[in-house]
């Protein structure tokens, strides 16, 4: 179900917005508009749908408009044009009172620099949102204590937040957001100010919490690794424009433009790309009952391979046959290939990552069969494509390297 919907949202800073908006409609570039009107286009025609219960990551470099877009959702920044809906209520048309209410109950926010009140204790910081709602002290402290326990800060209730480390402060920030029991969490570079180790730990904990809570989380980051780790879906922004939306594998295997490509270049693809993406679907097969050695041999010669996967007629995977065994069999005039199947083969499923498949190469030079839970063969991953995926070189380049190596 959709939770947040952003429609044709644009945001322009500066005077003379109407002219800038007109130029925006005409499709003029950000630089042209800046030159002609002095207006800075922060977000341009953004359209997004965020589903209930998902972690949606908006990624981009600084100045890409990602944080600005996030702030439009609770109207900390007013969008110039466009609509935003939360639960089908149009945020962009709400009165001040309705807006206060939705900020208090539905849209909690977690900030990069925490935004905690340094003069207060952990407990009263966490209870702050409830305090603003006018909930009495006993109730709000009780709720805050529960939330503090949830984020692992039990025992720190009466410490001043200024005495805590960055990681702990952000836990307080997270707890403050959660104490309101909001449906949506807006997280603005929430972990960017933390040490790498603490950051990774917080990411893990957020994912754990999310399993329990099933909130809708909108997470802003400039770090692709973080986006991939957290995001069910990712939107990439550049110069105020959303360039691509998709899950992490979409973005890595199929970058929409050079900008996204340059982003994903340095990502360790082997952790993200899975067998399902790089396998050859419907590979040539040897069928146990139907195909004898002669047929198998001809198939092998047709496509120039030295081995074939063997399946039962219902596509249950059995193992591989190798060309030398088949030739042998044919000489002996045995009609069935059953005796030469090599069944001590490791199989993987479509979700296995490249990283996890690589070690299998050391055990075999056969293709790696990809099977589903019923052990039906879905496809094969060849060693060459596995290496291509890891090194980023294409198969032709790899062949060249092999030829050179042989020549040596």
């Amino acid at each position: 179900m959709e939770k947040i919907k952003i429609e044709k949202l644009s945001l322009v800073f500066g005077k003379g917005k109407s002219k800038a908006l007109k130029m925006l409609d005409e499709g003029k570039s950000k630089a042209e508009i800046l030159e002609a009107t002095g207006c800075n286009v922060a977000v341009r025609d953004a359209n997004l749908t965020i589903n209930e219960g998902e972690i949606f990551v908006i990624m981009g470099l600084s100045g890409s408009g990602k944080s600005t877009l996030l702030r439009c959702i609770n109207r900390l920044i007013e969008p110039t044009t466009g609509k935003i809906f939360v639960n089908n209520d149009e945020i962009t048309r709400m009165s001040d009172k309705e807006l206060l209410n939705i900020r208090r109950t539905e849209l909690a926010m977690v900030f990069q620099h925490f935004g905690l009140l340094p003069h207060r204790t952990v407990l009263s910081n966490v209870a702050f949102g409830l305090e603003l709602q006018g909930i009495n002290r006993v109730d709000r402290d009780k709720k805050a204590e529960e939330t503090i326990e949830l984020v692992g800060l039990k025992g720190y209730e009466n410490q001043k937040v200024s005495e805590l480390s960055g990681g702990m402060q952000q836990r307080v920030g997270l707890a403050r957001g959660l104490a309101n029991a909001p449906e949506v969490l807006l997280m603005d570079e929430a972990f960017s100010a933390l040490d790498p180790l603490i950051r990774s730990q917080m990411q893990d904990e957020l994912l754990l919490l999310q399993e329990k809570m099933q909130k809708t989380i909108l997470f802003i980051t400039h770090d692709l690794e973080e986006a991939i780790k957290l995001g069910d879906r990712i939107a990439i922004m550049k110069d105020g424009v959303i360039v691509q939306v998709g899950n992490s594998e979409d973005i890595i295997t199929n970058p929409a433009d050079d900008y996204v490509k340059s982003f994903v270049e340095n990502v360790d693809r082997s952790k993200i790309v899975t067998a399902g993406t790089i396998m050859f679907e419907k590979p040539k097969l040897a069928r146990l009952k139907k195909d004898g050695p002669a047929v198998v041999l001809r198939t092998m010669r047709d496509i120039g391979v030295t081995s074939l996967p063997v399946v039962r007629t219902n596509r249950t995977f059995l193992g591989f046959v190798k060309i030398e065994d088949v030739v042998d069999l044919k000489k002996k005039e045995i009609k069935t290939i059953e005796s030469i199947i090599r069944d001590s083969v490791m199989t993987v499923n479509p979700d296995t990552t490249v990283e996890d498949m690589l070690p299998l190469l050391s055990k075999t030079n056969l293709p790696i069969p990809v099977v589903n839970e019923d052990n039906h063969l879905l496809g094969v991953v060849t060693p060459t494509s596995l290496i291509a995926e890891t090194t980023g070189k294409d198969t032709i380049e790899i062949d060249e390297i092999i030829q050179k190596a042989i020549a040596l």
Binding site: L100, R104, A108
Partner: protein
Amino acid sequence: MIIGQYIEDGVNWLTDNFSGVFDGINTGMSSLIQVIESVWIGLPFYVTIALFTGVALWKAGRSNAILTLLGLVFIYFTGFWEETMQTFSLVLASAIIALAIGIPLGIWSAKNRTANSIIRPILDFMQTMPAFVYLIPAVLFFGLGTVPGAFATIIFAMPPVVRLTSLGIQQVPEDIVEATKAFGATPQQLLVKVQLPLAMPTILAGVNQTIMMSLSMVVIASMIGAKGLGEIVLQGISQLRIGLGFESGLAVVLLAIILDRITQNLGTKQKK
């Protein structure tokens, strides 16, 4: 000379047309001052000394408490106790009024850009104009006595607290303000729960400054008939009695140090 003429005309016009208002202010202020004065002059000196020393011990630590005790005992033995209490009462009354006007003004100028651009030049004017100049309209509005002294003092002492209140609120980190708004705070909640508490050390520095400036002005205000230590200093000057002038001047200095030490530490935590 033309500007001076206009100012004179303006002040005359005010005294002619708003004499009722000034009389009202006069009555109000003089009764406030009288109440405060009757308390401090009415209290036996040892109770007052104990009170001051206690507050100093609570807020400013042991060494400042000892300083307070010794200073007040010294003043008592100079024989200017009553005058000191008069001066203190006048400082207290002026400072209370200056703060009551100054803090809201400071908040307003922090929150409103237009207000800020109007208030700032007025503050510059108030602070740089030689203090004696305020004595003239004060006399025209209120005649001679304690009230015009308080009036001039209020005008002279108000700018620091306005400025520092405004500065303190503007210095509250933007991310905290934003976070507060994001959780659905009304402007009032933002002010009361976040901006004022976080600006408090700066505001209290302003309070301290205002009190110190009040003290320096009430001494000058004795030229237009304000009672207290200033009167004695003035006597010392007019009669060329250096001993008298020095003794009363020393009492002013001691009172200033004591008030400064105590109010300087208002914003910090209690010292143990």
